[in-house]
Symmetry: C2
Subunit: 139 residues, 2 copies
Amino acid sequence: MSFHNGFFHHNLQFSRSFTKKLNEQLAKVDLFHSQWLIVYYLYQYGCSTLVEISTYLDVEKPTVTRTVNRLEERGLIEQIPGKDKRERRIQLTEPGVRTYQEAKKVVEEFELQLMTGLAEEDREATLRTLLFLKEKLKQ
Amino acid sequence: MSFHNGFFHHNLQFSRSFTKKLNEQLAKVDLFHSQWLIVYYLYQYGCSTLVEISTYLDVEKPTVTRTVNRLEERGLIEQIPGKDKRERRIQLTEPGVRTYQEAKKVVEEFELQLMTGLAEEDREATLRTLLFLKEKLKQ
DNA sequence: GGTGTATAGTTACCTAGGTAACTATAATAT
DNA sequence: ATATTATAGTTACCTAGGTAACTATACACC
């Protein structure tokens, strides 16, 4: 694609394949990958607002609203009262924590399996490249 | 994210940011990035079927159907009759070719700008990594 | 030549990203 | 104290990916 040996083309294809396979794996614990990202964040950082999640994941607020609603309907998160009435502070419920723990195993196994065989310096160079490009996109 | 220094997490974030910015750029020529991919393919490979496009882009058939319909409504592609009545062979119209040429400039400028400053060996390592990971996902 | 199978494409419906415009509340400035 | 501005979140609607099930045509085989 284009004159960069399909660099960006391959990146997009990989992302699609990756989320597809990750969704297949996460189906074992009845989660979608976007739900997993929020459950992961809530476990690591404790109770949060939707804007905090939106900022961390770099996803727009309406998208977060929708996914959080699904998690709430499924009883994996709960609202906690706060001073600022605009905010919606949420945290994992007890079933939410259990789901996190199960999903974590699935995701770690999946990512580890995918990573094995990849040269360490290639992994580092790729991470460096992604961070570089992400930064450039912000300008 | 997880124990790989957020490798996959950064990749997903980058892909989202990338398509977002590319869509912004392609708005200049009134295209979305998924439409651009098909226009690009048709210009390079000539008249094609939807399955050929689907295979090349690694995107499911229903997705291709939808995007192709939009391109046809906009008059950028046209159907050409063929022997196999199941197939839908399409090609760029004359306005489609012009749109390709305009979009090509926009995309090349965007990608070039993004690439400048990236070390050559990092670019190569990243491409190698993406191809490696894509291959592993197919298993 | 009829039957079973494979292929091309579509339809319906799901998640997931985006923007624009809106409401409600908080913070700030005058 | 009031008016303005900023922030949190939602709603409506768009593109874009996916799966499952379907139709119609082509192919293969007996």
